[in-house]
Symmetry: C2
Subunit: 233 residues, 2 copies
DNA sequence: CGGAACCAAAGGTCAGACTTATTGGTCACA
DNA sequence: TGTGACCAATAAGTCTGACCTTTGGTTCCG
């Protein structure tokens, strides 16, 4: 699952990261490197490497004579995929899912509009293929198959936008969609209207109709917001 | 400037990070921890900590018997403020500035809409104050004063949205605005139309008019896109 | 009561030895 | 000749223990 699994310091992070992001230590709490090393039964070197990573994520701050202090949530690098995974695994998963869905609702329509202008012929083909895959898996409880194509679809859109900041949100969207299917609101079969919208977006991109691609994607994200009871009156 | 200045490993990062993000090492290049430690005249422990940080940013991957391999740009954590700073300092600064501005154009209007619904009375006051500050500094080449209030304005909007993912983009917007003023396109005085739009956004938020706040902010971001010759026909 | 000197605590750095996984080559066997 | 198993070289991973540096608190003196 997590890439940090490599090495001892990764194991430490797999425990300490979720603890911090879950709010187990209030902001300002002080941890001592030696104590942590003892707790996880690793050497100080390994513990220091773990602390450095947490520090680069702005989860903690290390200062001489003081120790490793936990930073308030507003300082965290909430776009770090690792941090996102930790937060999604924690108690405030619903809240995190809402934040990410709102982000999606802002980014994806614009990305779709750009994709309509920049997508290669190959990407257009991929998009159509994904949309067809969604249609094929939209009935009879084939949730996994549907999810697979749904994730691929949105990844292609974000990549085809040609904006590297958008492209990097592919993982985020994947997490949101996967989370929705596996844990949260997801009825037996996906909303037929959503399926149709995806097909139409693929169509609009293929026909280079940026305005239509953007508007249709906006409708998709509105649906996603409604699923989470995030109203937009 | 950079927070990594603390410690020896920070100094290593200040050199190695920009090198990698500038593309000095093609993807797949292999670096050896020992050689790097020798080059920077630091111990292996310090070098390892630096590598761990680069690894957490997905700039490199460390594997046994192989070394530290540089990852392709598409893998980088481009939302890490540190990575953003490094890329903005490098050769493809214009490209990075465009990416970020497009991201702004997607996020800020939605954030403004949310701010109109969620902003506290205090935040509304701050917003108005910032807008007035922009007006006061909009003539006579008071670029620094204008920039200060401009940055503050957008930070308040993003924070007041109530979405922590949006709030975290405050630093990004600050970098973009600062970069625009100090290095790139910026005429003697800011566009009067933009100044007016900011005042109107503050007004709309104060009056809880989400749709208007969103639309006005969209006009602001369109202006930002046009400044960088990113057309939207 | 205030400031300067002192001290201890905690992280920062270093050097060296040892461990372990991975890779690429070699050699034997089919 | 091809293919499998084995082995050795390699570079990261880990641990230990020593020493340095900064800094917050305490104490003592004016």
């Amino acid at each position: 699952m997590s890439i940090t699994g490599r090495g001892l310091h990764g194991h430490v992070l797999d425990t300490l990261g979720p603890e911090i992001t879950a709010g187990a230590y209030p902001p300002g709490s002080v941890l001592r490197t030696d104590e942590l090393a003892q707790r996880f039964d690793v050497s100080r070197s390994v513990m220091r490497e773990a602390v450095r990573v947490l520090e680069s994520m702005h989860l903690v701050e290390s200062r001489r004579r003081v120790g490793v202090t936990v930073r308030p949530a507003c300082d965290w690098n909430v776009y770090d995929p690792q941090v996102i995974r930790w937060r999604l695994a924690g108690a405030d998963r619903p809240r995190q899912l809402r934040s990410l869905t709102v982000l999606r609702s802002a980014v994806e329509p614009v990305a779709a509009g750009l994709a309509a202008r920049n997508a290669t012929a190959e990407q257009c083909a991929e998009l159509t293929e994904c949309a067809l895959g969604m249609v094929a898996n939209s009935r009879g409880g084939q949730l996994e198959g549907y999810l697979f194509h749904d994730v691929a679809f949105h990844r292609v859109i974000l990549t085809a936008s040609g904006n590297d900041m958008f492209a990097r949100l592919g993982d985020v969207v994947a997490e949101v969609l996967t989370g929705r299917t596996h844990h949260d609101v997801m009825f037996d079969d996906p909303d037929p209207a959503a399926v149709t919208l995806h097909v139409q977006v693929a169509e609009a991109v293929r026909e280079r109709d940026a305005a239509r691609a953007e508007e249709l994607t906006r409708q998709i994200t509105v649906g996603a917001l409604q699923e989470l009871d995030i109203l937009a009156p």
